[in-house]
């Protein structure tokens, strides 16, 4: 892994942009550039030369790493110590950086059991819109000094500040892992998910696609053998390949041009009867849908199950791919954006108009 500190240069770039009043598009690997609204900005800031591990003590189950560090290299470095990122971030291509992974706030199949990006985010060092380097949180597990300005960076798509460093909570790699596949039609699979959500025990992935329910079990070998015997099903040979294809969207379900929607709903919502092909992940809590249906219909569908809808990929023009916010909530978003980035320098409009 490259160890390269260009904090001062990055800070200067932000200061220059602030002085000129010219917004910046922040890019890491640009692997997630498709997500969100197009950013039109006169300047670009590339984080990839700001990389490497700042502090890693495996016994603390925490790491501090520079924003431009390649995700792949980070995952390998952790694996060498038998550890991993709890939120199992997707890599869309080889270029993903950890800064981008945190900023986009996307978590993989183990989300229901091991938490979202924000749950692992213990601290950040960032540059705000005034060009100041600020540090919030740290490597410790518990910290309530001052407002929590770390976690809101997860999923803010870089609009609240430039992430120089992130401190993340880690988890040990499971001693063993098995994926079972059972033939189940959608209704039966949703019923199984509903039941399993009530029961603890070694699950770390439950997804349904094309009449097949996939159950990933992790833990001590004896424990998962016992649980596998209880649950039944065929063992999947290339289990890692399957979960990765789901997470990184290389599975055939994700190919083609039809718009891809991500609906997050209450896990026990049952069959939401979507207007298109469906892949169910997160034990029922995340539904991927391929559909040409108008955005409003999908937004209403998600909302009727307590959730929200994002148009993840797809060509049609749209206000924002993200779910619209209530006016009161939007007002708080605008105020917070202004508090951190008064001139609106960072990734203007990436999430919503005016943010």
């Amino acid at each position: 892994m490259q160890n390269n500190d260009i904090e001062k240069q990055l800070q200067e770039q932000v200061k220059d942009a602030a002085a000129a009043g010219e917004p910046l598009r922040i890019r890491g690997g640009d692997s997630r550039a498709f997500l969100g609204r197009a950013v039109v900005a006169p300047r670009m800031l590339d984080t990839r030369d700001h990389s490497g591990i700042v502090l890693y003590e495996p016994s603390e189950l925490a790491i501090t790493v520079r924003g431009g560090t390649p995700l792949r290299a980070l995952i390998d470095a952790l694996a060498a110590e038998h550890q991993e990122l709890p939120f199992e971030p997707p890599s869309f291509g080889d270029e993903s950086t950890i800064g981008g992974a945190v900023a986009s706030g996307l978590a993989g199949p183990r989300r229901p059991w091991n938490g979202a990006v924000r749950d692992a985010l213990l601290g950040v060092k960032l540059v705000n819109g005034k060009g100041e380097v600020l540090q919030f949180g740290g490597q410790v597990m518990k910290n309530v000094a001052g407002y929590d300005l770390s976690r809101p960076m997860a999923g803010a798509h870089g609009t609240l500040g430039l992430l120089l460093e992130v401190s993340l909570k880690l988890k040990p790699l499971p001693p063993a892992s098995v994926t079972l596949v059972r033939e189940e039609e959608k209704h039966a699979a949703l019923e199984t998910m509903r039941r399993l959500y009530q029961r603890p025990g070694n699950l770390s992935g439950v997804a349904w696609i094309d009449g097949l329910l996939h159950l990933r079990l992790e833990g001590y070998p004896e424990a998962i053998e016992a649980r596998a015997a209880e649950l039944g099903g065929e063992r999947l040979d290339d289990a890692d390949g399957f979960w990765r294809s789901l997470n990184d969207q290389t599975h055939p379900f994700f190919s083609g041009d039809k718009p891809l929607w991500r609906l997050v709903v209450k896990p026990a919502s049952g069959d939401i009867d979507p207007p298109g092909e469906e892949l169910i992940d997160w034990i029922g809590g995340q539904r991927w849908i391929r559909s040409d249906e108008i955005p409003l219909a999908l937004r209403r569908l998600a909302a009727s199950h307590g959730g929200h809808a994002t148009r993840f990929r797809g060509a049609t023009e749209i206000d924002s791919p993200f779910h619209p916010l209530e006016p009161g909530l939007m007002a708080l978003h605008r105020n917070l954006k202004r508090a951190l980035d008064p001139q609106g320098l960072f990734n203007p409009g990436r999430m919503y108009e005016g943010l």
Partner: protein, 496 residues
């Protein structure tokens, strides 16, 4: 220790108009203004500091509450939210020119949704009451502060409280899915969602730990968890506290994440034993309590692994509790540690620093030195697994100067935590108590950023003003004695 602000002088007629407006907005008996009625609200768990508020409002409905906030907003009167008043940092300490907004009457459990493992409750519901309501479904709410029989869930969110099971199951922020807040101008806004994530910025994370300074929390949806099939508690005595610390690091490094991993030193374990007779070995220098949960096979495997680690680290006589009664007994001493210490000294002052686990030995040694220096005894109980220390400083408030001495001692402990990369508060919050130490942990740009965030939510500054984040002025005064990141803090500010 006082809020970082100058109270306003309110002319008598303005005050009368304000109170009349409140009286019209509230039902009979829901506005307290008489001295004897105000008395119980004078302080929270930081009871050395007391102040009578102008009034106490006890709304019963959301509409009433919104109206109260609007009236305060209109009249520029500070609002201090109060749950159960068990906070330890003066978060609910009243302001003389402000009102206490009590959430005590918002004590209804609105919904238990076992299929989605969610409970929706009002902010005044007690922490433990949620688990009790979920019990029939085999579910519970994981964060369990020691004060859980008394503290409110609204207060838990406002402080981002922890408990002995946070090592495995997370803090309040990791277990809350959605909250509804009333903003400073009285609007109702929903943050987060009942699903695995919500749209937009994670304002839910921001409201956790915001100490009543960004909004009034009026409804909370929490995640429930299924009870583990089996739970085991191990009790491991050590004859050397540093070795107990090493055992903690070794357990975590081995890839085991216990449900709880707590440590008590000799003073606290003796006090606890004398108080609740938990069966602790009083000849030990330190005691580790380790809880493991999961399926039978998981717990068996982890028990073997942990026992070996404890043994190798020098634990002498490890005991394992499998049945509920013995487990409860093992825990009883730890959970009663504060009151137990309260019995052996006229007063105690509870600190709350967090450090990277590997510095445990170093920081404990420093606390020992400081104890000698100040001539005050200190007991140590802590959430060892997540490095959260609770040194209890024993003193006698009736001896002139002892309270101030205990506070200075406490301040020095927090500085020691910052020096090793830790924080001045793991779970009790800043309130009025740690305003000075905030100046050490953050520089002026960071503090200014906090003030900007506060203004984004509360432009008039009526929600719990003067708490949580110090003014740069205060830091400049305090900073004369302190050095941040090796530099003189606030070089741009004048020195007095």
């Amino acid at each position: 220790m006082q809020p970082d602000r100058t109270p306003a002088t309110i002319p008598a007629d303005a005050r009368r108009r304000f109170l009349n407006a409140l009286r019209r907005a509230l039902p009979e008996g829901a506005l307290l203004t008489e001295a004897e009625e105000l008395h119980p609200y004078e302080c929270d768990g930081l009871s050395a500091y007391r102040q009578v508020p102008m009034a106490v409002a006890l709304p019963d409905t959301l509409a009433q509450l919104q109206q109260v906030v609007r009236i305060c907003h209109h009249h520029d009167i500070p609002v201090v939210a109060r749950g159960a008043g068990t906070g330890l940092s003066g978060g609910a300490y009243p302001l003389e020119d402000g009102i206490i907004l009590s959430l005590a009457r918002f004590n209804r459990i609105l919904d238990i949704d076992p299929a989605n493992r969610l409970a929706t409750v009002e902010p005044g519901v007690r922490n433990l009451a949620i688990s009790e309501a979920a019990e029939p479904y085999g579910l519970y709410y994981a964060p369990d502060p020691s004060s859980q029989i008394a503290c409110s869930i609204g207060g838990n969110v406002a402080e981002n409280s922890g408990g002995v099971h946070c090592l495995k199951y997370g803090l309040t922020v990791n277990n809350v899915r959605q909250v509804k807040i009333v903003t400073a101008d009285g609007e109702l806004v929903t943050l987060g969602a009942e699903t695995f994530d919500g749209p937009g910025y994670d304002l839910l994370a921001l409201i956790n730990g915001s100490e009543g300074m960004l909004g009034i929390i009026v409804e909370i949806t929490v995640l429930l968890r299924p009870r583990a099939a089996r739970t085991t508690v191990l009790l491991a005595p050590f004859d050397d506290i540093a070795r107990a610390g090493d055992a903690v690091a070794a357990i975590i490094a081995a890839g085991v994440v216990p449900a709880g991993l707590e440590m008590m030193d000799k003073l606290t374990l003796e006090a606890a034993e004398a108080f609740v007779h938990a069966g602790y070995p009083t000849d030990a220098e330190a005691l580790l309590i380790c809880e493991l949960d999961g399926s039978d096979i998981d717990v068996d495997a982890e028990t073997v692994a942990v026992k070996k680690i404890l043994h190798d680290a020098g634990a002498s006589d490890i005991r394992v509790a499998d049945d509920a009664a013995e487990r409860a007994r093992f825990w009883a001493g730890r959970k009663a540690a504060f009151p137990a210490v309260g019995r052996i000294a006229p007063d105690y002052y509870c600190m709350d620093g967090t450090i990277p686990r590997r510095h445990l030995g170093k920081v404990l040694e420093r606390i020992g030195q400081l104890s000698g220096q100040y001539g005050l005894t200190v007991g140590n109980v802590f959430h060892a697994g997540d490095g959260n220390l609770h040194p209890l400083i024993l003193f006698d408030a009736n001896q002139p100067g002892e309270l101030e001495k205990a506070e200075r001692f406490g301040g020095d402990i927090l500085e020691a935590c910052i020096e090793v990369g830790g924080t001045i508060t793991g779970e009790h919050g800043v309130g009025i108590e740690k305003l000075d130490q905030m100046c050490s942990q953050f520089d002026s740009a960071e503090l200014t950023q906090f003030h900007a965030v506060k203004a984004a939510f509360d432009p008039k500054g009526i929600l719990n003003p003067g708490k949580g984040v110090p003014t740069l002025h205060r830091c400049a005064e305090f900073g004369m004695m302190h050095v941040h990141h090796g530099e003189l803090p606030f070089p741009e500010l004048p020195r007095f």
